[in-house]
Symmetry: C2
Subunit: 314 residues, 2 copies
């Protein structure tokens, strides 16, 4: 059984996890079948969450739980790990719904479908995003009957702390603010990396930490390794996004192509050129792998996810 | 000392608490003096939070901590209680910043000052609200070095659970969605009460529960009493708001008067008339007092806050 798990190929593993994620989301999101205005809000929340996306954050969370758990004796992914996975994805989805709004990026298309405000109106998109953020913290805080499991309460607090920090002014929202202010200005590579580290990287890092903590609160050594890994894949993710934005068409991307350039936003491609950007992504993959060396087979899925992130833009 | 505390008058008590709240907010909000775009975001968050408001939710939280703590031996308000107080106020402030935006209520004036989007632009107002919501969960999750204080972790998880539930689709955001959908339609009194119970009441209830839990996780009996109390003051709060909206002028209110009526929103005044609305508010105050009877002197401040809520519209 152990053997079988370790050798299950990535595609089978990720398909299984993604199925589990969809089922968990469906179970934890407010029911869409409520009558009246509440029903519309819930429907918009589900629209923002479901129907696609790469679900890279949930995959990272589950992979990190494997590393932290240190064993593959059970193929069962724990309820707390699944809650970590969907909580991070809820934060991600709310941020997309808000970023797409007219006062921000004004994007009409996301994953090949109308964005939330196009489909449900701006007010409902705003509210659905707000409610999804609350829901993200809720699915974690509701995880534990904590009175009789004090250890679990400590894990849940750790997870909530990491998620809140990564989402707010010191993380995703702060990065978004820098992004807004940078339109039409030329940022240096260092500032650009800092912006992405907050805007995208913080939440990818949170996915890894939450997943790990759902199995076992990481000690300082594991935290340091996961930080190195997360920084590398976070940056790689953005470099590859920029490469795709410059080379793929709208149909392939499922969102408006060439938009960053048209908006005068600085990108790695505009700064380094296409070839050097691709080389940079491969170098970052090596950094991610290097961080995982001490963790052997437990780090298999995290290694494969670093490959996935880089290969989609190769 | 005990004697002195119990007889300190309400105005002295509330002034002391409010001062403590402002200091705590200033300490816990991200620094405004950061250079660049992050600085603008942080400044907008502070603008949304500081400079006024009645701070009724922080007062409720501190008052409920007194009830749950059951003693007045120390005049010290604990750090966890203050974090409860400001966390709830952050959720409240973020919801105002978003509600005021053009796609929602489109209000230019709040507490006599330009609303956040008027002052900082829509994109920053949206982000500042998002970041404040994250910050609310952060100040709670960061409260406890939980590893060596498992009991405290349980309290923090309880508080986070209550706050997340009250903020999301089953609480404030859900109520807001019903409110949006009700413009120009005639709601019955029951639907109107349900809407307000979610939109405003859920967060007032959360303030009371969080404050209580910061002293001691409430048992089922205390929870039931606090729910009765919260429902009564929550509804009274809204009835009084409607009375003020119909009778006071813009300068007195610090926000645009008569707006609900102009927007075709159903109000208690439009439904019951002015006199019956005032009588209803007084009746709700009696209900709030009745819920507190078993708690004697420990409930003093909660009783006085019920009075305050009703008297401002008498």
């Amino acid at each position: 059984m152990t053997q079988q798990f370790a050798t299950e190929d990535f595609s089978t593993w990720s398909k299984g996890v993604l199925q589990h994620v969809e089922v968990t989301l469906d179970r934890l999101l407010p029911a869409a079948a409520v009558a009246g205005a509440g029903g519309t809000l819930n429907e918009a929340m589900r629209y923002a969450m479901l129907g696609g996306g790469k679900r890279i954050r949930p995959l990272l969370a589950v992979a990190a739980a494997e590393l932290a758990g240190g064993t593959h004796e059970s193929r069962e992914v724990s309820e707390l790990t699944m809650r970590a996975a969907v909580a991070v994805e809820m934060i991600h989805a709310y941020s997309l719904a808000h970023d797409d709004m007219p006062c921000m990026d004004n994007d009409a298309l996301r994953r090949g479908k109308p964005t939330v405000h196009v489909r449900y109106g701006e007010a409902t998109a705003l509210l659905a995003g707000d409610a999804l953020q609350a829901e993200a913290f809720s699915v974690l805080a509701e995880a534990a009957p904590t009175a009789d499991a004090p250890e679990r309460a400590a894990s849940v607090v750790y997870m909530l702390r990491v998620l809140a920090r990564a989402s707010g002014a010191h993380g995703m929202c702060g990065g978004q603010a820098i992004d807004l202010a940078s339109v039409g200005r030329s940022l240096g590579q260092e500032s650009l990396e800092q912006m992405h580290r907050m805007k995208t990287g913080a939440l990818l890092h949170a996915a890894v930490l939450l997943g790990a903590a759902s199995a076992k609160i990481p000690d300082a050594t594991v935290e340091a390794a996961l930080l190195r890994y997360s920084r590398a894949i976070g940056l790689a993710f953005q470099v590859v996004d920029d490469v795709l934005d410059a080379t793929a068409d709208t149909a392939t991307l499922g969102k408006t192509a060439g938009k960053d350039q048209a908006d005068g936003k600085p990108t790695f491609v505009s700064m380094l050129g296409l070839d050097a950007s691709r080389r940079f992504a491969l170098e970052l993959r090596e950094q991610a792998h290097a961080a995982l060396v001490p963790y052997g087979v437990g780090a298999l899925r995290l290694r494969e996810l670093a490959d996935l992130i880089v290969v989609r833009g190769a």
